[in-house]
């Protein structure tokens, strides 16, 4: 069995807002194994991006432990954190907003190498930038271009080149393709997968696009309102979803078949409840088709229904076990 590169235990992040506390992450525990991709799915505002940012401590966690290679990074000081960040990078959702508009492609990619004093020789720096550009499929003639002159796919390639410049082991991909055209999405996904194989990277892949996550992930974690409701290997999750929210989510995937044309898609009723000062009990209870009395009284603990398959809903687990 491979070693977990990242382990999160009871991670919490509450943002103080006027009305109280916004529970962006509420008691999340998961592990990411070396060389694998953990896909994180969930609807907008469920805390996916906060999770990614908290892992790199771009957002300070309220409580909990984040272990990188067995070492808790939540208590590190600035200097120690800088060392860890060399190994952990992030690719942002909006490739335009995440690139300094006053820098050229070359400067953008060279920046992490300069800041971290990895290469001080200018000739070597230039060579390394050329190598990185070639690696992510950016043509040499673009090296003097500014980000606004490039299309979304090329901009995202810059973001990727910048993230891998310091030879990290772990990369948080925060919806790296959701701002792109479908045709370019595929290119970028393939690039990410090629790089993963080539550089033996580990990804945390955040997305709301289920077909994307299925394509790229080894394991998948489904999030709802700051909590992880189900976690399983990619194939298992798509085959045997147990949690009612996961089921609803998967039923929303469009199926390209003429027989499906006249069937109405089952959607989840109602709206996401506010993440500010949530009630105790199951967060999904108000919208859950199988909601009963018991749902208001338990805190979502993950239960292992089969090896590596964790579900946070006791009644669904009971039903699943009975079926088996």
């Amino acid at each position: 069995m491979k070693q977990p590169i990242i382990e999160i235990e009871h991670l919490k992040k509450y943002f103080p807002v006027k009305e109280g506390k916004l529970h962006a992450l509420d008691d999340i525990s998961l592990s990411i194994f070396e060389g694998q991709t953990l896909g994180v799915v969930g609807e907008s505002g469920c805390g996916k991006s906060t999770l990614g940012r908290t892992l790199l401590r771009l957002v300070e966690p309220t409580d909990g432990i984040i272990r990188y290679d067995g070492r808790d990074i939540t208590k590190l000081n600035r200097k120690e954190l800088a060392d860890v960040r060399r190994d952990m990078q992030i690719i942002f959702q909006d490739p335009y907003a995440s690139l300094n508009p006053r820098m050229t492609v070359k400067e953008l990619i060279a920046e992490p190498l300069i800041v971290n004093k990895i290469i001080s020789n200018k000739k070597e720096l230039m060579k390394e930038v050329d190598r990185l550009m070639a690696l992510v499929g950016l043509s040499q003639r673009l090296s003097m271009a500014y980000p606004h002159e490039l299309d979304g796919g090329r901009r995202q390639r810059i973001g990727i080149a910048r993230a891998i410049a310091m030879k990290p082991r772990f990369i948080v991909c925060d919806e790296p393709v959701s701002a792109l055209d479908v045709s370019i999405q595929a290119q970028i996904l393939n690039l990410l997968m090629d790089l993963q194989a080539e550089l033996s990277l580990t990804y945390l892949f955040i997305t709301h696009d289920l077909s994307v996550v299925r394509h790229i992930s080894t394991n998948i974690a489904v999030m709802y309102l700051g909590q992880c409701v189900e976690m399983a290997p990619s194939k298992v999750l798509f085959k045997n979803p147990v949690h009612p929210y996961t089921k609803a989510l998967l039923s929303a995937i469009p199926i390209p078949s003429s027989s499906m044309r006249h069937k109405a898609i089952e959607t989840v009723k109602g709206e996401v409840v506010s993440p500010i000062n949530p009630l105790p009990g199951c967060r999904f209870a108000q919208r859950c088709p199988g909601c009963g009395e018991q749902c208001a009284h338990y805190e979502s603990e993950l239960i292992e229904v089969e090896p590596k398959h964790f579900v946070a809903c006791p009644s669904a687990v009971k039903a699943y076990m009975a079926q088996k």
């Binding site: 995440s98 992490p112 002159e149």
Partner: protein, 288 residues
């Protein structure tokens, strides 16, 4: 610190190329160069004695070959006074603007980037300064320190700093929120480098325009203070004090108002045109 990656295509060269394409900015630049030339070489153009020598028989002469701008009510050569006045006016305008840009810009950048208690303290202090009318504030400073050129500079600078702090702070806050700042933090960029290489270049546009505009405003407010005798002391020529002296002879010798007036207008205009051009040239998004 400049990357040698840029040798063949240095950013400054690129900025100059874009600046050159802007006709009004180039007109402003030529105008500014002429005014700067006059100010720097004033002594070679016409000796300073001519500007303060009073000739009783030559009072209020109309423009002629001997006195191209005529003479004032004390028989001083007005052309010499306007030429030497450029030194005072430009010195006041540029130095006060630059000093308030440096102090106000740094304060504003730190307030906007760090926020918190320091920000609150500085901003409340600025509010206090802003609640006093600028003329009154300058008057109070000059009255307390004494009327001379140095104190005039201090007075005008103090009344200019709050607006610079506010402007820079608001621009910095909007930029500090951008993803690329977070990205920079994710690869360990120091705060100092973030402010210097990420925030300030992106905040340049409004700051440059504000500074060049404020040069014009500073020249005018110095003129105003000189006008009421709180600024540059006679017999030193300064465009504002020239105007105020000439005011009494508005109908007898209107040309005494034209020349310093046009000089103020031209310098203010040239700074504004150059400022606009620089803002556009510095923004790579407006390329070509």
């Amino acid at each position: 610190m400049k990357l040698k990656l840029l040798r063949d295509n240095h950013p400054l060269r690129e900025i100059w190329r874009r600046f050159k394409k802007n006709h009004s900015a180039m007109i402003g630049l030529y105008l500014l160069l002429i005014i700067l030339f006059v100010a720097i070489f004033a002594d070679l153009i016409v000796p300073y004695e001519k500007a303060i020598k009073q000739v009783g028989t030559d009072r209020l002469l109309s423009p002629s070959m001997a006195h191209p701008f005529g003479t004032d009510h004390l028989g001083r050569d007005f052309a010499a006074r306007v030429v030497h006045g450029s030194r005072y006016s430009l010195l006041i305008g540029i130095s006060t603007s630059v000093i308030s840009l440096i102090i106000g810009g740094l304060l504003g950048a730190f307030c906007g980037y760090y926020g918190g208690r320091f920000d609150n303290l500085v901003m409340r202090l600025m509010d206090v300064i802003m609640s006093i009318p600028p003329v009154l504030l300058s008057l109070a400073v000059v009255a307390a320190l004494g009327a001379n050129l140095r104190n005039l500079l201090i007075a005008i600078t103090i009344s200019c700093i709050p607006s610079t702090v506010r402007l820079v702070r608001s621009v910095v806050i909007s930029i500090a929120d951008q993803d690329y700042i977070e990205a920079a933090q994710s690869y360990n960029t120091s705060d100092f480098r973030i402010i210097l290489k990420y925030i300030l270049p992106n905040a340049m546009g409004p700051i440059i325009v504000n500074t060049t505009m404020s040069i014009a405003v500073m020249i005018l407010s110095a003129a105003g203070l000189s006008f009421i005798g709180m600024g540059v002391q006679p017999p030193s020529p300064e465009w504002g004090s020239l105007l105020s002296e000439a005011r009494q002879y508005m109908f007898k010798a209107p040309y005494l108002l034209y020349f310093p007036g046009v000089a103020i207008l031209m310098s203010a205009l040239s700074f504004n045109l150059v400022g606009d051009g620089l803002r556009d040239a510095l923004d790579p998004k407006l390329k070509n």
